[in-house]
């Protein structure tokens, strides 16, 4: 069996080199720093500044109503009549359901598995807008962490050309190390219990593959709008 052969080779090899490797491994602590840049006071401001540098849009709003106003504007700009979304209670923005009803927006059925998979995804393809919440947001890199799962489909941050993410101020952390520790604290061994997928998103989809010219939206959303609700 290849498994046994590979493991046997590894053991033989490690007989020779394990002491050296262990010595290298002991030269620095492994625990990641909670953050890696000089700390700033205002995490929302830092997040917004970082995302803006990446050509994402950040909105700092004092309450849910202002957040709804931003969403309303984006619905109009994208002329969406249907959206790809997380379950609204997973996003947790008060008044969102009412706004969507008032604008006549339908929530697309995001079930895309089994026999229907290809047909459903093909049907979702033309939809111009998607909305998600987040698990956490990282200030020093302008990153979102999405922990997917029931009611939180991956395609709601991926398929459409415009992605809106709702972040509440208490979800902001300073750095990646802090975000990972918090995940472990919250879910322990069950981080991947209800889902097979966690995704960090840092700005709009980009490529520099043609002559090193920066271009947005080659595969993922060219537009990302992050609304930080601070109230």
């Amino acid at each position: 069996m290849s498994r046994d052969q590979i493991l046997a080779n590894l053991r033989t090899s490690l007989n020779a080199n394990r002491p050296w490797l262990l010595n290298e491994a002991s030269r620095a602590p492994h625990e990641p720093p909670p953050f890696v840049l000089p700390p700033e006071n205002d995490l929302a401001a830092q997040f917004a500044a970082e995302l803006t540098k990446l050509e994402g849009k950040a909105y700092r709003v004092p309450n849910a109503d202002e957040a709804l106003a931003v969403i309303d504007r984006l619905i109009e700009e994208t002329q969406a009549s249907s959206i790809i979304s997380w379950d609204l209670d997973q996003i947790g923005l008060p008044g969102l359901a009412e706004l969507l009803t008032a604008r006549g927006i339908t929530l697309a059925d995001t079930t895309a598995r089994g026999e229907e998979r290809k047909a459903r995804l093909q049907a979702l393809e033309p939809i111009p807008l998607c909305i998600s919440g987040v698990e956490l947001a990282i200030a020093e890199s302008g990153s979102l962490l999405l922990r997917h799962g029931p009611g939180k489909p991956r395609i709601a941050s991926l398929l459409a050309p415009c992605h809106i993410a709702i972040v509440f101020a208490h979800q902001l952390v300073r750095g990646l190390g802090e975000a990972l520790s918090l995940l472990a604290q919250r879910y322990g061994d069950e981080v991947f219990g209800p889902t097979s997928n966690l995704t960090f998103i840092t700005g709009p989809s980009r490529t520099a593959d043609i002559e090193m010219t920066l271009s947005l939206g080659i595969h993922g959303p060219p537009q990302i709008h992050v609304i930080i609700v601070e109230g």
């Binding site: 720093p33 997917h148 990972l180 097979s196 966690l198 995704t199 989809s205 080659i218 959303p221």
Partner: protein, 469 residues
């Protein structure tokens, strides 16, 4: 195939390709300054790099425990694991899987491991339609070429060349503007994703304690490849592992900054098994192929340190030789300084792989930038010594070394040869440099200038100085 052309011919070709030279210069300069800015901004870059090295060394030291742990955790989450000793086993597993599941169309996101085992050729040969979805990879697939850089596989193509390809293959209206090319590629590839039955990805890190794989990317093609098709196959070199999820707090920080100067890549996906029952989307099946292909043996030898590599590409950009010749000239899948170490180990049947370690001035720039501080120059020297031991030396070189030994151990010959060289140089050198030397030394000046000796030797100057006192 580029492999049948000798290394020196490929180098020659690269040095005379003007558009390649422009592209290389533009790309490497940009990568170098982005990286320097991002690493320089860190509160404690040295410590973070020490940590990254320690974490990777720990993982390698425990590879015999961590790999089974990773596999067990993947299986506990409903995924399948294939242990592949070599490329042949990996290819067979994937082809048989695709056949058994009635797969027709396959989308791929960038994976060096799959390049290493020539997976695309094998899949196409078996009758599957395979599309590379990373824009750079897609462009070179349309052009029928191979990647020239780990991070930017198509840097050798100009926008005019890309435009021509898109006009020819995708029916694009001719243009030299980049945005319409991006839109054309997005539309064409999106349809490929929606029709695909299988997505194949690489792996940046396997995480043993949570049974997850990590994929970093900027475009979103890896997210689509691992979300849209019903089957996801990930191919991972067995050394690409970390023990704990928390280790990513160090590794992702140094990877993104070293590769492109970003704080984090646009998308970092952590994937553990197939979609769970209550999830609306995601793949129904997940297969992890653990590829050995020589790595388990390399771990026991004096090139083990090269297995710490996280494939960031920083050493390529920093290397003056890579800057001059680009990735294709190396002939193997991995190019640049780390490629010169890995290719002779992972692709030993390439006829001139043993020459790659010669393509270095041993300036040390690679080790300087490496996020896990791999002693690349030391290993290049070791490769050279090993090649000599194995008798892989050019006969002219052997003669030259014998002559050199003779000269250096006999002062009279040494003096006479110096005089002869200086006499000759007065006749033949231009501006203190030889552009062309007579055979067999023309092999040196074909790709480099050679400084002419000064009019007087050190020994002569020394003697004069002592007389004047």
């Amino acid at each position: 195939m580029s492999q049948t052309i000798a290394f020196y011919d490929r180098v020659d070709h690269a040095l005379h390709d003007n558009s390649l030279q422009t592209a290389l210069q533009r790309a490497t300069t940009r990568f170098i300054s982005n990286r320097a800015g991002a690493i320089g901004a860190l509160s404690d870059a040295d410590r973070l790099r020490d940590q990254a090295r320690a974490i990777r060394a720990y993982a390698l030291a425990h590879l015999d425990e961590l790999l089974p742990k990773l596999a067990a955790n993947v299986e506990a989450r409903g995924g399948h694991v294939c242990w592949a000793s070599d490329g042949e086993e990996a290819r067979r597993y994937i082809i048989e899987l695709a056949q058994a599941r009635g797969v027709r169309s396959i989308v791929k996101s960038k994976s060096m491991a799959s390049e290493e085992i020539h997976l695309n050729e094998a899949l196409e040969h078996a009758g599957f339609e395979v599309v590379e979805t990373d824009l750079g990879e897609y462009i070179i697939q349309l052009a029928g070429e191979t990647p020239s850089h780990i991070i930017a596989p198509a840097i050798h193509k100009t926008r005019e060349q890309v435009s021509e390809l898109f006009v020819k293959h995708l029916g694009m209206t001719p243009t030299t503007e980049v945005p319409p090319m991006i839109r054309t590629a997005r539309q064409a590839l999106r349809q490929r994703f929606l029709q695909a039955d299988m997505g194949i990805s690489g792996v940046n890190f396997g995480v043993a304690d949570s049974g997850a794989i990590v994929i970093v990317e900027n475009e979103g093609n890896a997210r689509l490849s691992t979300t849209v098709p019903r089957i996801h196959v990930a191919i991972m070199g067995i050394e690409r592992i970390v023990a704990r999820m928390i280790d990513l707090g160090v590794m992702l920080q140094v990877l993104a900054r070293s590769a492109t100067g970003q704080k984090l890549s646009v998308y970092t996906s952590l994937i553990s098994g197939p979609a769970r029952p209550g999830e609306a989307d995601g793949p129904e099946e997940f297969h992890l192929v653990l590829l050995d292909n020589g790595r388990s043996r390399i771990l026991g030898g004096h090139y083990a340190e090269s297995l710490l590599c996280i494939r960031c590409g920083a050493c390529l950009n920093a290397c003056p030789v890579y800057q001059a010749i680009g990735g294709h000239a190396y002939g193997g899948v991995y190019s640049g300084p780390i490629g010169a170490i890995l290719t002779p180990l992972l692709q030993p049947d390439l006829p001139d792989a043993y020459l790659l370690p010669q393509a270095s001035s041993l300036c040390g720039a690679c080790q300087e930038v490496c996020p896990v501080r791999i002693a690349i120059p030391d290993m290049l020297l070791r490769h050279r010594a090993d090649a000599v031991k194995a008798g892989k030396v050019n006969p002219i070189e052997k003669l030259a070394i014998a002559g050199y030994t003779m000269t250096m151990t006999h002062p009279a010959i040494y003096n006479a040869s110096g005089k002869a060289a200086r006499f000759f140089s007065r006749i033949a050198a231009r501006k203190g440099r030889f552009r062309h030397l007579p055979p067999p030394l023309h092999l040196w000046t074909k790709q480099r200038d050679f400084p002419a000796p000064p009019p007087k030797s050190f020994r002569e100057l020394w003697a004069e100085r002592n007389k004047q006192r």
